[in-house]
């Protein structure tokens, strides 16, 4: 039923070394209700994929709302996106992709039982995750200063009279939006905060789990042949990364193709 070949690098043989306790045939980390380590790995890994499927549907609702609003208020979305910083957005994309690389290396280190390297990779991932959040914080602060926070501190002035913000005006030469459309930039920023906020929330959860894993990895966990947790967390981390890969063009690069 379960396919032992799905465990990388002949782990079964290695798992046998870890045999301890009264069940001579089972390594200590095999839970009582599984028939074999392979089945345990298969089941938890499959569960993680299903969980990511639910996450896709969760963000799907946000993307659908974005799609409808963007179709209705395209020019407001263009103007709104001009007020985001492409520099910070691109930097953050690079930071996050790099963190996915270090995470993938971390999974490899766990599989090949390199404890020091695993700790290093997890630390780097943790650090890059924090850098991402800090940059996001800088951007959000900028939006607060510019009065672009919907519902709490919002002004349409920048969109009715684009020349107010000379830096952006020099670059894009935006024409003023009419009153009706200018108010719709608030919808853009509402979705911007909802989407990046939900993404950041997933980052915070991920960083929390990273701290937990770092703590355990320094004590030798995950490098004893039982690396399921690291591998499944890796899937989660890559997923959060992929969400950002979609958010970046949708929010920052609305009119770039023209």
């Amino acid at each position: 039923m379960s396919d032992s070949t799905t465990i990388a690098g002949g782990e079964l043989a290695e798992a046998k070394e870890a045999m301890v306790g009264e069940h001579a045939a089972h390594p200590a980390y095999q839970r009582h209700h599984f028939e074999s380590v392979a089945q345990q790995f298969d089941a938890t890994n499959f569960a993680m994929w299903i969980f990511l499927l639910t996450e896709v549907m969760f963000f799907g609702g946000l993307f659908t709302s974005y799609l409808v609003m963007r179709n209705w208020y395209y020019s407001a979305f263009v103007e709104g996106s001009h007020h985001l910083s492409i520099f910070w957005g691109t930097t953050n994309t690079a930071v996050l992709i790099t963190s996915s690389f270090t995470m993938a290396m971390g999974v490899w280190c766990a599989q090949t039982r390199r404890k020091a390297a695993l700790v290093l990779c997890l630390s780097l991932t943790f650090f890059l995750g924090l850098v991402f959040l800090c940059i996001k914080g800088i951007e959000w602060h900028g939006e607060w200063v510019d009065q672009h926070v919907p519902g709490l501190r919002f002004s349409q002035a920048d969109f009715i009279n684009p020349a107010l913000d000379q830096d952006i005006y020099k670059e894009y030469h935006d024409r003023p939006l009419t009153g009706g459309m200018a108010s719709k930039t608030e919808e853009y920023f509402f979705l911007y905060f909802a989407m990046t906020g939900m993404h950041a929330l997933h980052m915070v959860v991920g960083i929390g789990i990273l701290v937990f894993m770092l703590f355990r990895a320094t004590k030798g966990a995950y490098t004893d042949g039982h690396f399921t947790f690291v591998e499944n967390f890796g899937l989660y981390w890559h997923f959060v990364d992929i969400i950002w890969i979609f958010l970046f063009p949708l929010l920052y690069l609305v009119s770039r193709h023209a």
Binding site: M1, S2, R31, H32, H33, E35, Q39, D42, A43, T44, F46, A47, I50, F51, L53, T54, E55, M57, F58, F59, G60, G61, L62, T64, S65, V68, M69, W72, Y73, P150, G151, L152, F154, S183, K184, E186, E187, F190, L191, A194, M198
Partner: protein, 554 residues
């Protein structure tokens, strides 16, 4: 009703097995920290019964108010809160978790031949999330309730009301995650935990239908979750994508909400189908007719179920072409549902039918669900829907499916597996009486509502024109009978925990793996992992098994 297949052990010598999942450990903590799927199912059973009780009391209040045409028992806005809370509690805290979280949790591992669900701790977490959501819902009620209806319609919920929308939304959000985790656990268990020899087409149909429901839970519920987050945000910051005052789209909310909430009705009914398949087969002593068709019809309902949501929106301004397509797709769902009803009927044909309590409930289900399903086709036709939408016809339709269907199936299942769960039988005559009472009370309550709806009585109002009173009095009288029908099982099932006859391992002579082990089962279900060497519902296999046992004992 003289013939019966019940075979109980000799009561003078029979004992409940000393070691079982109930007796293994004692103390509150052994329950609160358990990872045993059977104990978690028990926790769920107690909690959903509690919420059913609250939801039922609210329903009683609604029916009492509607006894007279004037709004005299309570003020109109109190009435709005009462029916909203009734809907929210019954949908999210009773119907959605009813069969999957109780019977499903209890049976799934045993039916696939495993020691536990794939993720026992996640299973416990799901119960805690349910309890947390439940507490938030009770807080909502204590703080003054919410009067949006169970649908949270925007911009009513985000703009115009000053009731407790945010706590209610939060409660449903949290409870939604408990349902996601249950569905996830089932899918993984069915894929990865089947015992040797248990191929997909040897699985009991209960597993198939819960598998289909799990797919809906996993794919649909997250969409509801994000929709409710957006409703909450819109309410807090007063800007959002649903309120037309800011350029938002209320139809977008309807699309997102019904994208979950239509599949949700299949989440509620599919596990019920599973129970009916087991019960009908056992009490007709026949393999379910067209096993493969019944199995695939569950999956078909899950697939089609995702493409019919806009039939809730025919009068809301969706385009005529969209209405046409969704109307057609809606009627397509009737096909797999009908396949099931026909196959159960053919299972009965030339079967050796006996009428024990679970069978009575199941037969009741078949009748009531057929009416509920057929009236759904009326509502799925755009022409009739324009006349019937938002009337009591709709209320009667979904109560026939949810209460006449799901609740009958739930009670059928509880009565069917009660001996396995507790090791004891309940009083047979009394439970048969309860089943018949429920059936009569149900019809008396909800059939008049079809007529009321045809005559044009709108739903969700405390007052109505005096000419509708006679039918409303019938309905309220029926609700009283129905109340007795639901109270009885709570009483005699509790009684049976201590005084019921010892059931033995297989009182119904059923073929499922769960019936081949002791009742109540061991914590690890099977002394050793079974090997499945026969088809599901193979009664000849069961006879050979028993002959072997007699021979070896003799």
């Amino acid at each position: 009703m003289s013939a019966t297949i019940v075979s109980l052990p000799d009561q003078s010598t029979a004992r409940i097995p000393k070691l079982n999942f109930l007796s293994k450990e004692n103390g509150l903590l052994s329950w609160l920290l358990t990872s045993d799927h059977k104990r978690i199912a028990t926790l769920y059973l107690i909690s959903i019964t509690f919420f059913f009780f609250i939801g039922g009391a609210l329903a009683a209040l609604v029916r009492m108010e509607l006894l007279t045409p004037q709004s005299d028992l309570m003020a109109a806005d109190t009435y709005n809160k009462v029916f909203s809370m009734h809907g929210l509690i019954m949908v999210f805290f009773f119907l959605v978790p009813s069969i999957p979280a109780t019977l499903g949790n209890f049976l799934m591992p045993m039916m696939v031949g495993a020691k536990d669900l794939a993720l026992p701790k996640i299973n416990l977490l799901s119960w805690y999330l349910y309890v947390l959501g439940g507490c938030l819902m009770i807080y909502t009620m204590c703080a003054g309730g919410v009067d949006t209806g169970w649908t949270f319609t925007t911009p009513l919920s985000t703009h115009y009301l000053n009731t407790n929308v945010v706590p209610a939304v939060l409660a449903v959000f949290v409870a939604g995650f408990s349902s996601i985790l249950t569905g996830l656990n089932f899918i993984v268990t069915i894929h990865k935990m089947r015992c040797p020899g248990m191929t997909w087409f040897r699985l009991p149909l209960f597993v198939w239908s819960n598998y289909a429901a799990s797919i809906l839970m996993v794919l649909g519920t997250p969409v509801l979750a994000i929709t409710l987050v957006l409703v909450g945000l819109e309410r807090v910051v007063h800007i959002g994508v649903f309120d037309p005052a800011y350029g938002g789209d209320p139809l977008l909310f309807q699309h997102l909400f019904w994208f979950y909430s239509h599949p949700a009705v299949y989440i509620m009914i599919l596990p019920g189908f599973g129970v009916i398949s087991e019960v009908i087969s056992t009490f007709s002593r026949k393999r379910v007719f067209g096993y493969t068709a019944v199995a695939f019809s569950s999956v078909a309902i899950a697939v089609f179920g995702f493409f019919v949501w806009a039939h809730h929106m025919f009068v809301m301004g969706i385009s005529n072409y969209a209405a046409l397509v969704f109307s057609l797709l809606t009627m397509l769902v009737a096909v797999p549902s009908a396949i099931k009803i026909f196959n159960w009927s053919f299972t009965l044909y030339k079967g050796s039918i006996t009428f024990e309590t679970p069978m009575l409930y199941s037969l009741g289900f078949m009748g009531l669900f057929t009416i509920g399903g057929m009236t759904g086709v009326f509502l799925g036709s755009t022409g009739t829907d324009i006349h019937l939408t938002e009337t009591y016809f709709v209320v009667a339709h979904f109560h026939f499916v949810m209460v006449g269907g799901m609740l009958m199936a739930f009670l059928s299942g509880i009565h069917f597996w009660w001996p396995k769960w507790t090791g004891r039988m309940y009083p047979e005559k009394l439970s048969q009486f309860a089943a018949v009472t429920t059936y009569i009370g149900f019809n008396l309550t909800f059939f008049p509502q079809f007529i009321l709806g045809m005559l044009g009585m709108p739903r969700r109002y405390a007052a109505y024109p005096p000419e509708f009173q006679v039918l409303n009095v019938f309905s309220t009288a029926g609700a009283t009978v129905l109340g007795v029908g639901y109270l009885l099982p709570i009483l005699y099932l509790t009684w049976s925990l201590k005084y019921g006859e010892i059931a033995g391992s297989n009182p119904w002579q059923a073929t499922g793996l769960e019936w081949q082990v002791q009742s109540p089962p061991l914590t690890e279900n099977f002394p050793e992992i079974p090997i499945m060497d026969h088809e599901a519902y193979d009664y000849e296999w069961l006879e050979r098994q028993q002959a072997k046992e007699v021979a070896s004992v003799g």
